[in-house]
Symmetry: C2
Subunit: 892 residues, 2 copies
């Protein structure tokens, strides 16, 4: 016979926490607590299989359910010495939903079920308090009508309000038992009028109505949306837990409360929570009285003059402390519990793992591991890698109020506050006088670099997640919001306006680069901290990690940050990014705009010493660690001069007319720069570019050696390859340059040449390419753009609608699209390794810093991941978790 | 013992035409002719395996080769009654290269080998002509020095010129035997001086020198380039054929000639060729005398008063006629032969299949099949599908001189001539007065449509193969050259200039859309013809074809052309193309620029009747045939108004300010429109667009039924799909609209819904998509752009360098990249069919009209191909050939 119902109570239970899928989280944990012998009001759980049956069979229940429920009710009644519907000693129950995943507040609950015109008197007798009994009854009627009968709350509120007005009452507490009794009559009349049927008096009818309503609530709109948002399968269903009522509002020795077994904000090992004497849970929510701290220590700390539970109910508190300790040791995690004290007797109503801040999570994990409650591996697995973000950048204080005036794209995380400036040069000047500024532009260009350096944060009204501002800001680790399209900037008047708000130069502005919020005024911040527990967890993680973690870095500052964050090398040095600064960009522009080889060589001659110096510096900072340098891959249009002054400057430097220069710039214009004259296509058309860069790398390496004694081993990366001959051609230029430099200097540099795999065709022909390429680095940004046909810069117009409607399993620019892009990467890994077993495989797209993607990269066996310096700790932790077997979940 | 040498002559041969790979084309055919008993000067062929040995062993020959050559020489000498090096009856030979593939003029030849200071006298005796003998000797010395010794020709020319000057001669024919003898002395002295060694007198030394030179020539630069251009593997190597010399210059009963067994221009069954009495092949090439026709009929037709071979050498002619007839029957194809008559004796020197025009190829194939010489299948396989292009458009007469002033992209094939106009409206006006015009623009936009219709051809100075002008012109079947960047148009002065040439409005201009040439003035044209042999071959092809052939068509004119060319349905109706005309584009622009759903619905209401009428017309024209209609997929930027007048017009129609409209247009601007807000992304963001189109399709189908009685079965195609949910969402809109229309009209339309597979991810998740999609049509243009990361519009800047340097096996926009894009398509076919065995599979990218690609599509089992109407016959033929087993060759 199918078992649809599981009882618990009196020190034992038919279920346990292992039956979470069947009993829901709440039901499983109540059973577990009962098995532990903890004081749990007896009850039973109707399984999630009944929910599945209910939806598969037109809202009907399985045949044997009624009998099983009846038996369970009798069992519960026997344990508490009451009977369902008994006029003298009535059994009252709560009916709650509970699914495998926590869905707080998403589904409906009914309390005090079992009360009717007769049993209410029995309750009054038992409690010795008529007012309490009728108050409980009217609460039940309101809740049940709303949840089960669909009679909205406001009907009852109207009756109550006019009654109070009539009597001149202002508070509910002024109503007597008799007043409530009268109102209950009026409530029941209203129900008959609105619903067409009288309020059910039979407790069995009440119970089945409530059970049906809980199952029905699984499909209500807010539950559906919640499931979609949290990727909870509809098929899981909900269980229904029916439990004997206990009352925290039976006088001064009764109470209700919630607690965490450790401080969820700091992680400190101390009972943390609040309680209220003579109250039920909903009174705490209603906020008419202030809950009190549990411990004396907390009360002192809060500086309140109330009474702590420790003082008010010392015996119960002592028992509760033991229970809490027991639960934490049993569950081996910090618990979030609910309890009620009924006339001096403690009852546990719920326990579950408690939510906590990143800081608390670190401390709890470390301390539990040090106390041998969990292993180091478990401690590492307990930390959500993405939560570290909170600790790596200054952030807006969690409690601070935010006057959000616009929301753009969260282009670079962290928060910053400063005075508004609209001009990059002015930003530099103000910074020079010690002021903090936020640079606001429509979009940024390489001319703005110094201003961006000077600013605390950058806001643009145009541009996407890969716009100039976004890329540069991420590189600098500076907060940035891009594409805040609702803001209009008036440079003439030096103002920025959005619906209803106009700010002018010098006004304070706060940016939250983690959420994309633009906030007027100053908001309180909290600063990052990376020592202590953070460092301990990182150390433990690093011991378990298989994949290397490198950083994407070009400047000395980036490289230093990368080392500080624990990067084990540079996985991507985008050489074109080394020319963003105003005094360097002119030479790069001359190179791009040259109309012949001679012109190009002249420009390249100016670039060579700059590159050599940069590389030497990077090699020095990364001493001994691998440095992967990608040959020029500029999206040409981003580097073209736009303003007349820039055009004139470049024209003068090149000795050509501005007319000619503008014509050349127009020639270089592309319809789809993403798919244009980029990457190795440049090196093939103009081999002198690759020659110059290879020379700068080899000479830079020798220079670094002179200073540090150790010879660096650069990894040279050829971008945007789709065929083997392309790669071979560029590799030949690099090898020839290596021989030339070795001959000139009398010393060889050890180096390897590999390629960036960033186009679908490259994945398909990976075996051919691997015949000569010594490493692959997956450029999953571009691979995503091409495989999905989505330009990241243009996706704003539709990707929102796609996520909302679940047309894509994930945002493919945040987590790698495992089914599409992921299959291409896997294919390239398999084909590449088949051709060259020791092929070194890495990834340098932004997915390198995404934990879900990292789990995927572990699964397919990459050698390393590379991400922006500020995500290195996240990547280290995620890589450790992946190595420990955490899998990359993704809908398909 | 390895056999390195194969002899032939005297009615038999060791080889045959089946040994083409071993003996080369020339050697194999000489052996074959010998076996047939035809008069072939005896000789022998050194195999291609010797060539391979030669390159594998540092230019050494195999051990036994010398002995085998010696034996073969003796054999040849015995047959002709002469001996190598014999002073009285010297054997003279020619030494020629010959590989498996024809490489005309790519490798070196030596004639008259065996002559030296002694044997020349023997030749003089035998010929009874000292001048002939010494002339032959000096020719041999010049040729041998050039080819074998590396002593350039000019040394001898200088000596000869100064000798002639000294004597006052102007023609070589004025030199006597003694003169030549003196010159030979001077030549030999020069050789000693330049080369350091004397000219070799020993015939054996001469022979081995020549053999080595022929092998060496396999690797000379021009042979290498030729092989690269024609995809001939280097490993094939060349054979060397050594053959007894015969002389066409031994007096009035000697002659030399070339002939085709049928007319290579018209295909008529008649001997076609020319000959010259008392001459050698090189005299014909030198052009000092005019060759004469072979037959009297040809002489009459040409209106010359020379003497035909038929008249001059009637017996030899009769024999030659029999030989030609015999060769054609034997080879079962029109032959291109070379012959020499030595003192009244016919000698055959070469036979091979003759090159012919497309027209001739059709006639020959049809007539040979009708004469049962070949099968219908063979006839179908004999026609190069691409050659039909010549017959489908007017073309420039092959003999016409071309004053090419610029070359752009061959955007739409065919040739056209007319007066230059720079304005679309003016083009319409002039067309109205009966004038023929060529529309010249920087680039075209939808406003220019009527002018493009009016023009004979279109020239733009900007834009690629998929620019507006190119796409529209191909659809219209109008010649078009795009991106002729060297031309500057001055609209103010109404002139166009290129280096050295300025043309003004009204000047005549000719465009060759097949080559991209822009030609000043008028050039003679030839008109297309599609009946007769063409129709016969098509009928035969259609019987053998497995794949359906459809056309890409939107307008009534396109659809009618498609039917005329034999299309079996429409494979791609690009609905956005239906709005190119000026009076329609405004409504489309209103739709695109609408800022809310209400505005969009207002615009869509205007579009609905237009679409419905268009679809009804297409269904009527295609009565009974499938029509695949793709939902809107506009590259938004192409449809945005640009000129102020257009902006004002659209703004007025929408009732908004021009400012607001311009802002909206700016919002719609995309960095990479190819990867932007396109395809089903539009239908998902704005479901009302798909609803309107579905309604227009269903209502149009019912309207067509009222007129024709038959109910069309439209295939509705959702573009740019990458996930199943996307497709399902749009399909749901279509299905709902179908139900709504059926309810309103009381009649259902049968339809199917499928998708365009045009992005790599779609190929990977094809199984999922096929669960609900009823057909796939591969959009290989976009699939190529994304898989290779190459924007076709921008590829001009580097694709040239790529082809030149063989970095890509083919131009991937002409023939499908089988290794990359092809694997994706194959994957989608396999996965799609696994999920839905009756999935209908087609292709509608431009590869649908490319024969190599078509062979690939046959191999992977597509159901149909679709191409532009004018390529339908090519596709039909190519599909038949593919079905008959012709494979799609492609380098990897």
């Amino acid at each position: 016979m199918a078992k649809w119902v599981y009882t618990f109570g009196d020190g034992k239970a038919e279920g346990s926490r292992d039956l979470r899928a069947l009993l829901g989280g709440k039901g499983a944990n109540l059973a577990e607590m009962a098995n532990l012998g903890l004081p749990v009001p007896p009850g039973f759980t109707i399984t999630t299989e009944v929910c599945a049956y209910f939806y598969a069979n037109g809202s009907r229940h399985p045949d044997m359910l009624a009998a099983q429920v009846k038996a369970a009710l009798d069992h519960v009644g026997a344990l508490v010495g009451r009977r369902f519907g008994d006029a003298e000693r009535p059994l009252l129950v709560s009916v709650r939903s509970g699914s495998q995943a926590s869905m707080p507040g998403m589904m409906d609950t009914v309390l005090n079920l079992g009360l009717n015109n007769a049993t209410v008197e029995g309750l009054a007798q038992a409690a010795g308090d008529r007012r309490f009994a009728y108050d409980s009854y009217r609460r039940f009627i309101q809740m049940y009508s709303d949840v089960v009968l669909g009679v909205p709350h406001h009907h009852f509120e109207e009756i109550l309000e006019s009654f109070k007005e009539e009597r001149g009452f202002s508070l509910d507490t002024e109503l007597s038992a008799e007043d409530w009794q009268k109102l209950i009559g009026a409530f029941q009349a209203k129900i008959l009028a609105v619903h067409g049927n009288p309020f059910p008096q039979a407790p069995e009818e009440q119970l089945w109505g409530a059970i049906g309503a809980v199952f029905g609530s699984w499909m209500n709109p807010r539950a559906k949306i919640y499931r979609q948002l949290h990727n909870i399968p509809e098929s899981w269903g909900t269980a229904v837990t029916v439990q004997a009522m206990v009352f925290g509002n039976m006088g001064e020795t009764s109470a209700t409360g919630v607690a965490f077994t450790r401080n969820p904000s700091t992680g400190a090992k101390e009972l943390f929570g609040e309680f209220m004497i003579n109250a039920q849970g909903e009174d705490v929510v209603a906020g008419l009285r202030t809950p009190q701290p549990l411990t004396e220590e907390a009360r002192h700390a809060a500086g309140t003059d109330g009474v702590s539970m420790q003082t008010a109910l010392p015996d119960v508190f002592a028992e509760f402390q033991r229970v809490a300790e027991r639960l934490e040791r049993h569950y081996r995690d910090m618990q979030d519990v609910e309890f009620t004290v009924e006339r001096g007797k403690l009852w546990m109503l719920q326990t579950r793992s408690g939510k906590r801040t990143a800081r608390a999570a670190l401390r709890i994990a470390v301390e539990m591991a040090q106390a041998r409650l969990i292993s180091e591996e478990e401690a590492v697995l307990r930390i959500e890698p993405a939560s570290l973000e909170q600790l790596l950048h200054p952030t807006i204080h969690s409690g601070a109020a935010r006057n959000v005036i616009a929301t753009g794209l969260p282009a670079s995380p962290g928060a910053a506050c400063g005075e508004i400036v609209f001009d990059a040069e002015e930003a530099e000047q103000l910074k020079g006088t010690g002021r903090k500024v936020i640079l606001v532009r429509v979009e940024t260009s390489p001319e703005d670099i110094n201003g961006m350096h000077a600013a605390e944060g950058i806001l643009t009204t145009r541009g996407g997640m890969t716009s100039h501002a976004a890329v540069v800001a991420r590189g600098m680790g500076k907060p940035c919001v891009t594409g805040a399209g609702s803001i209009r900037v008036d440079f003439g008047n030096e103002t920025m306006s959005t619906a209803g708000t106009t700010l002018k130069k010098g006004d304070l502005l706060t940016l939250d680069g983690t959420t994309g919020q633009v906030i007027a005024g100053r908001v309180e911040m909290q600063q990052p901290e990376m020592s202590g527990d953070f460092a301990t967890i990182m150390e433990w993680a690093d011991k378990r990690r298989r994949m290397q973690v490198r950083a994407n870095a070009e400047t000395a500052a980036d490289a230093q940050a990368a080392r500080r964050f624990g990067a084990e090398g540079i996985g991507l040095c985008r050489t074109e990014h080394m020319f963003f600064e105003a005094n360097r960009i002119r030479a790069l522009r001359e190179m791009i705009l040259a109309t012949d080889e001679a012109g190009r060589r002249a420009a390249l001659a100016k670039l060579l010493p700059i590159q050599r110096g940069d590389f030497a510096t990077l090699f020095e900072i990364m001493a001994g660690l691998p440095v992967t340098i990608r040959l020029f891959d500029p999206p040409l249009h981003e580097f073209l001069p736009k303003r007349p002054a820039e055009v004139a400057e470049v024209a003068a430097a090149m000795g050509v007319s501005t007319d000619k220069l503008e014509r050349r710039a127009a020639e270089l214009h592309e319809s789809n720069p993403m798919l244009g004259f980029r990457g190795c296509r440049l090196a093939i058309a103009f081999p002198e570019i690759a020659q110059m860069q290879a020379r700068a790398i080899f000479e830079g390496a020798l220079e670094a050696k002179r200073k540090t004694g150790g010879l660096p081993a650069p990894e040279i990366m050829v971008p945007l390859v789709i065929t083997k001959p392309e790669f071979d051609l560029v590799k030949a230029e690099i090898d020839a340059t290596a021989r030339a430099v070795a001959a000139e200097r009398g010393e060889e540099v050890r180096y390897s040449v590999g390629t960036m795999i960033e186009l679908p065709r490259a994945c398909l022909v990976a075996a051919e390419i691997a015949a000569t390429a010594e490493f692959f680095s997956f450029g999953t940004n571009d691979l995503t753009q091409t495989a999905l046909g989505i330009s990241r810069d243009d996706a704003g117009s539709f990707l929102g609608a796609y996520e909302q409607r679940h047309l894509l399993p994930i945002d493919p620019f945040v987590s790698i699209d495992q089914q599409g892009v992921g299959e291409l990467v896997e294919m390239a890994v398999a084909r590449g390794r088949a051709a060259r077993p020791d092929l070194k495989l890495g990834i340098c797209g932004e997915h390198g810093g995404d934990p879900t993607s990292i789990a995927f990269f572990e699964k397919i066996g990459l050698n390393y991941i590379s991400c922006s310096p500020f995500r290195v700790p996240i990547a280290r932790l995620a890589a450790a978790q992946a190595a420990l077997g955490k899998v990359a979940a993704q809908e398909s």
